[in-house]
Symmetry: C2
Subunit: 514 residues, 2 copies
């Protein structure tokens, strides 16, 4: 079968992913190891994700601010688990000047810093330091801030959007008087992330708590949303952490309570990153490229005029301009419709495939015959083909205009429903012991492309901890499996733990993961 990409999902999923990133013009590798260049189309998607999330972050009472890119090395050491988790993978600034020696640019050795600075891998310590200064009394609480920022974690194996040395994210940081308030905040933002993933990205997720071994370094509990990619693997798409009093004690973040006592704050942090775009690709992409949910499509409706380098082109262009200005008046999802008229001097057939690969939700191809009949010819990206044939449908222009907002909503819903059916249909919960689970997933292969689709397992467990949990982790790791999360809102547990044989206390999700 001929499709727009040179490789299909089935043939080689990792190569297919790379082909979509490339062919949809989302991003490219840069000359800086592990850092990516986000191209305009990819950036446009990120801007829409940011806008949607930023609105909800503000609606839930948080204020944006900005903290330094650099963190003094000594700060990283303040919280013991935190340094353990992060110290191994940071960019370290040691000098502040270059100089030319014999015509060659070198680091000036006289410019060595007294204390090295790390490029923030996350900002708990530098923000905690400000919290200590900002917070004196219970009246100052809660403190609810967020920043949009770039962070750097030195990664050995990188993949565009999914794992890059530099990535972009938002990180929320809050301080509260009580554990109850802080936990409520943690779960509130987890719910904001669920809504973002499901309603904006059309990416259904499993909401749950991470097991102890998968917690953020320094957290008392970590919650996540996990999405199922089309290769059956899990993608952690967002996390929200209750940090207990760990950072507060390490950094002396205290407040005077209403009764006059000095108490440590309870803090939280939560973040989502450009990784979400990787999730969108692997949730919605097909063998013709990306499919974008309309809510995050930088251009929702693209008009391609079928120009023929003839005098009649002018009239056709005028017709298309008018159509675009009519679309500009429409509203979808509470925002102006994003329509685009592609006037580039490129063959119409190439334009069609460029926009289909990029995942524009609706393509309108307008030729002289359409104009004559006051029609549009429409291609829906979410329902592109019947067998191998591309489906295009004629509409009277007026009728299309009145249906366009509803059609965009329908496409958004359709993409969600497809992904939701995949998630719901591929969680095995009938495997009763570790051998059955191991047999289900099969042996791990070195080559991701050979892994094959498996989906997830939902299994009862006894919530082992410490050395017991570590031993389980080792067994799972041999199969390249990980514990994803313990879904929230479970009923009473039944059965026995698939790992320990002890009475189960809850179900946990097991999967291969990104």
């Amino acid at each position: 079968m001929k499709r727009a990409l040179s490789v299909t999902r089935e043939e080689n999923f990792p190569e297919w992913y790379q082909a979509v990133v490339d062919q949809a013009d989302l991003a490219e590798t840069s000359p800086v190891r592990g850092c990516m260049i986000i191209k305009p189309w990819g950036w446009g998607v990120w801007e829409l994700v940011q806008q949607a999330l930023d609105k909800r972050i503000k609606e839930t009472g948080h204020e944006n601010c900005y903290f330094p890119l650099f963190i003094p090395m000594s700060f990283i050491a303040q919280e013991a688990s935190h340094v353990e988790g992060f110290a191994k993978e940071m960019a370290v600034v040691t000098h502040h000047r270059l100089k030319t020696v014999d015509g060659k640019l070198v680091v000036d050795p006289t410019s060595e810093l007294e204390e090295p600075l790390v490029v923030r891998p996350t900002s708990e310590t530098i923000i905690g330091d400000a919290f200590r200064r900002w917070i004196a009394s219970y009246r100052d609480l809660p403190v609810l801030v967020n920043q949009w920022a770039n962070v750097v974690r030195w990664e050995m194996r990188t993949r565009l959007f999914l794992r890059t040395t530099e990535f972009l994210w938002q990180e929320g940081h809050t301080a509260h008087a009580t554990k109850e308030d802080a936990l409520e905040e943690t779960l509130k933002m987890l719910e904001v992330y669920r809504v973002l993933a499901e309603d904006i990205l059309a990416m259904p997720v499993m909401v749950g708590e991470k097991p102890e071994n998968e917690r953020f370094p320094g957290a008392d509990s970590t919650f996540s949303i996990e999405a199922m990619m089309q290769d059956g693997k899990a993608l952690q798409a967002g996390t929200s952490h209750y940090l207990g009093q760990n950072f507060a004690k390490a950094q002396n973040i205290r407040f005077q309570s209403a009764t006059g006592e000095l108490e440590y704050c309870h803090t939280t942090s939560w973040g989502v990153s450009t990784r979400l775009i990787g999730g969108v690709i692997m949730t919605h992409g097909d063998d013709d490229g990306l499919r974008l949910p309309p809510r995050i499509a930088p251009k929702q409706i693209v008009i391609v005029p079928m120009l023929r380098e003839k005098p009649e082109d002018a009239e056709l262009l005028a017709y298309c301009e008018k159509l675009k200005s009519e679309l500009d008046q429409l509203t979808a999802f509470g925002l102006p419709v994003r329509a685009h008229l592609d006037k580039k001097p490129v063959r119409s057939a190439n334009k069609r495939w460029d926009w289909l690969r990029r995942g524009a939700p609706i393509l309108l191809e307008i030729g002289p015959r359409d104009m004559a009949g006051d029609n549009v010819t429409l291609i829906r990206r979410d329902k592109l083909r019947d067998g191998d044939k591309v489906i295009s449908t004629g509409f009277a222009r007026e009728k299309f205009l009145s249906h366009a907002p509803g059609l965009l909503a329908e496409i958004q819903q359709n993409l969600f429903d497809e992904a939701k059916a995949r998630l719901d249909g591929n969680i095995r919960s009938d495997l009763k012991d570790f051998d059955a689970i191991a047999a289900f997933f099969g042996a791990a292969t070195d080559d991701d492309a050979q892994q094959g689709f498996r989906g997830w397992v939902r299994a009862p467990w006894a919530r082992p901890s410490g050395a017991d949990l570590e031993a389980i982790e080792v067994r799972l790791k041999a199969l390249k499996l990980t514990l994803r999360n313990v879904p929230v809102g479970q009923g009473p547990a039944s059965g026995v733990c698939v790992f320990t044989g002890r009475p189960a206390v809850e179900d946990i999700i097991i999967a291969r993961a990104y």
Copy 2:
């Protein structure tokens, strides 16, 4: 006279500036040398500046994207003038791992990078490298991109917003087929900056071309907008550079022309930064704190209910909630009005001064008597006092609601007019030689606070270059003076050059500057 700040502009302008930044809750110093923490109120201003500018950047055909934070050291060396200008002040990443030795965190010496990375001081070289890959034919031109990013320049003396080691900005980068196209782009974005400064920040500017010695390292010509601060000094508020073929030749950015020849591109770059906020403070602030132009005020109308911890408070709060929701329905400057009801458990008098210091354009104080008469009591931040007395005015609620958008527009215009009168009234153009100019500015002092208000001089000059210009620079530097720019749109020159005595070719602005 009693004012809300502990220091007045006249007493000590630099200390006054610092007091506004602090008392208006805009930003604070961080534990990282030269890096600032932008607090929610300051960040809110920056978000509005970003939104206004981003809209115009897109309307003029540019697309946002994102390039890596790090630049390989060798890239910086590619363009000779560029390395000369920037090599001396950069953060250099040399290692990628920390480790714990005897319980102490240190840089892991085995993690040294093969090639050091610099934290971008500006991105011409890393973006030029992408342009080389992206551009093949004249059909690919122009390339018009922009990024919003943090950059780092290692500064010895820093001042919040005005000069910080890390700052935030946008940097536009474009490539064109001809010099004419590139120059047109350079001037188009300069005009976008003028509109941003004057219409959005209410900060009038002098638009002009920088003299040779003040050009961006690697540029053929640099244009700027310069604003006059209340101490009479100039602030360079935005720059736009025509880079000629310098970077194209250094980085081999070429295209095949319509006639099949391989030619070097002409490139441009242009940027404004968080420094603009410093400009807003020094343009509009007074001895009671910040005054924000309504278009960039995160909250334009703040309602302070005069609560008395009595049962009647509930009714008063309900009245204020209703007022806020009515204000939320209004539109000013084409956007929803940003109203805020301050319900914090703080004394009303403190709230009044908090919001006045922060520069909220309109304050509504609502007490039981206002409610009873269905009135509001209004304080305009731009016309705060009559003598020492704070002016507050009663309005019928309905009347205020119908006038609010117009009032915000009037405040915006009033702030601009004040600043415009200051700029226009303080440019001396009658000084005919260097001695007169030196006498006018007076001797330089080590202490900025003792400098006194002078304003600018506009003087004819012969556009000397090379060694002649360097000698002039030395003479000016002894008086702490700089050449700002050559205003655009000048009539024919007359008179003689104040520096060389040769026939003048144009006027240039001379001033002390930030």
